[in-house]
């Protein structure tokens, strides 16, 4: 079942550039959707499965991006090494932060993650010597995978598609592992989970670090792909947008999260023409989905579909 879903998804992704070669929507929007998938699948592990909210996830995205940007342009590091350094930094900060921050619950956790995201954003804007300040940094070299230069839209599509599938595959495996079951227990009731002998602090720390790593990985790819980074790409609004994607797709469903990422990326692309309406629609969407389909658009719709199917099947039988 798991592999069936993944291979369907992979086939779809692989077929798109064949069916529509040189299509702006496939290469450019596709890359953006792919990066969002990595981010959202990671955040979903934390929000959907472990039931912990994060309103500062863009901070880790930014750390990966700025690590790659700074190390490759200022210190001429090879891109893969810079990416590894970014992952290390984001993972380390997430690990240090996890213990005090995940002790908090509900609104307090929301406040703390939000504050963390804003602090990181302020540093990106203010530490001009390192980050180039509000103007950002340009001239980031393209990704070099052991001699293979990722320098065209098609190549980027391929790399990001593979990375996104890898993220989905990893997430599916984590969810089905011992840690995944521990996380679901934490979401159900942290107290009960602890009574069952689950080290809840450790489980939460692990998932926090993993989701930070996913985000930093996406950030590094983003920096190399765009060749430019600025603090705007890692603001509070971006953190909120990632939460919207998780919610839209349906919390606690890896494919749902991936679909949410694709759907919102496409929606934003479609709304470019109606730039002024973008906020209005985002806000309304968030409220309506959360009120009427709290399990998310895709999970809710697929459940509705299944119910309809069983209803039809039962009426068809005499």
């Amino acid at each position: 079942m798991r592999l069936a879903g993944l291979s369907t998804f992979a086939t779809g992704i692989a077929l798109l550039p064949v069916l529509f070669p040189d299509n702006y929507f496939v290469t450019v929007v596709g890359v953006s959707a792919g990066l969002h998938i990595i981010l959202v699948v990671g955040l979903n592990l934390l929000m959907g499965y472990a039931g912990q909210i994060s309103l500062g996830h863009a901070a880790f995205f930014g750390m990966g991006a700025y690590a790659s940007a700074i190390l490759t342009t200022r210190y001429a590091w090879p891109s893969l090494l810079a990416m590894a350094a970014g992952l290390l930094v984001a993972g380390l900060i997430a690990w240090l932060l996890a213990r005090p921050i995940l002790r908090l619950r509900g609104h307090y956790l929301a406040m703390a993650t939000l504050g963390f995201g804003i602090i990181v954003h302020v540093v990106m804007v203010q530490a001009t010597d390192w980050t180039g300040g509000p103007d950002g940094m340009a001239g980031i070299p393209s990704l070099n995978l052991l001699g293979w230069e990722v320098d065209s839209d098609q190549r980027w599509y391929g790399v990001v598609a593979v990375a996104a599938l890898l993220a989905i595959w990893l997430s599916l495996n984590i969810v089905d592992s011992r840690i995944g079951r521990a996380l679901r227990a934490v979401r159900g009731s942290e107290f009960a989970a602890r009574m069952m002998g689950i080290d809840t602090t450790r489980a939460k720390t692990q998932v926090f670090v993993v989701s930070a790593l996913f985000a930093a990985f996406a950030g590094s790819l983003f920096a190399h792909q765009q060749a430019f980074v600025s603090p705007d790409s890692f603001s509070l609004l971006v953190s909120v947008e990632l939460v919207i994607m998780v919610v839209l797709g349906g919390m606690a469903s890896t494919f749902g999260a991936a679909c949410g990422a694709i759907a919102l990326t496409l929606l934003n692309e479609g709304l470019v023409v109606f730039e002024d309406y973008e906020m209005l629609i985002h806000g309304a969407l968030l409220m309506v989905v959360m009120i009427f389909l709290p399990q998310g658009l895709f999970v809710g719709l697929s459940q509705g579909g299944r119910r309809l199917w069983t209803l039809l099947a039962s009426t068809a039988k005499p």
């Binding site: 921050i101 929301a110 406040m111 703390a112 804003i118 302020v122 309406y277 906020m279 806000g283 309304a284």
Partner: protein, 291 residues
């Protein structure tokens, strides 16, 4: 140097008063419904922006302010009725997301109505700075301090001395018990949202002559108000006021003595430290988790 410190303190208390009012709004809604309303900052922005619009339409400032406050209260009421009530019983994460949605939606509406521009309200009584011991204070700051003090006193009296206020408090302690003694909990919730929206709008109108307002102005103010409520121990109205003043002074000192660019980072670093070491806020009740 002492003059400078006094100046930072004066600025801090002015800004802190606004945070206190916004925080008070958070505490009010949280008390009545256990919901943290992330659209609180948008009430602040709505109050200021509506006043600007009404002023431009030819209304006198005082009348424009009153009408804007009432309109914002109506928006608060609608928010409760249309978005919070249908989702009754939702988890904390869900309600956070719903109110974030409402905040983005309101920002979107204002953007469509009045555009992206920055607006400013005229000061209530001129802008000749007042000198005191080497520091200067704008007359508007006095308005901010005075009206904030008045509103805080009114809210206190409302909770301690009126039947309605006590009924509202009863809902926060135990909703079922409140229902059983004949309090209409739904009406109380709507009242809490309307009051909180009105408080937010007043804060916005007070501060608009000092800082500019725009469709995005509510984001930071809302977050700082939320911080004030959290630092003060969520659900403790007077704690929120103290938290707001503390945050304002700290931020102003940080901006003056360390770096103005980092002032938001300093404020939120303080909030994080408070949360790490006093996870229920400085003046919060220590409660055991109910299983």
């Amino acid at each position: 140097m002492p003059e400078q410190l006094l100046q930072f303190l004066a600025t801090g208390v002015t800004v802190g008063s606004i945070y206190a009012l916004v925080g008070l709004g958070f505490a009010l809604i949280y008390n009545a419904s256990d919901v943290v309303n992330f659209a609180q900052g948008e009430f602040v922005m709505l109050g200021a922006m509506t006043t600007v619009a009404l002023l431009n339409a030819g209304l006198p400032l005082a009348l424009a302010g009153v009408v804007a406050t009432l309109l914002t209260a109506l928006v608060g009421l609608l928010l409760e009725r249309l978005a919070i009530e249908p989702a009754a019983g939702a988890s904390v994460v869900s309600t956070i997301i719903i109110t974030i949605g409402a905040a983005i939606f309101l920002r979107g509406v204002v953007l469509l109505l009045w555009g992206k521009g920055f607006h400013v309200l005229p000061p209530f009584t001129g802008d000749t700075p007042i000198q005191f011991w080497g520091a200067t204070l704008l007359p508007q700051s006095l308005w901010v301090l005075g009206i904030t003090a008045l509103l805080v006193a009114l809210v206190r009296a409302f909770f301690n001395r009126t039947l309605l206020g006590k009924a509202l408090l009863a809902c926060s302690f135990n909703r079922n018990a409140a229902q059983l003694v004949g309090i209409d909990v739904r009406v109380m919730l709507r009242l809490a949202y309307a009051l909180s929206a009105a408080l937010g709008a007043l804060a916005g109108i007070l501060v608009a002559p000092i800082t500019f307002t725009s469709y995005e102005a509510g984001v930071m103010l809302g977050l700082k108000g939320f911080s004030a409520a959290i630092v003060g121990g969520i659900g403790n109205p007077m704690g929120a006021v103290a938290g707001g003043l503390l945050l304002g002074v700290l931020e102003s000192l940080g901006a003056g003595l360390i770096s103005s660019g980092y002032k938001d980072a300093i404020a939120f670093l303080f909030v994080l430290m408070v949360l790490f070491f006093e996870p229920t806020g400085l003046f919060g009740h220590k409660t055991a988790e109910r299983v």
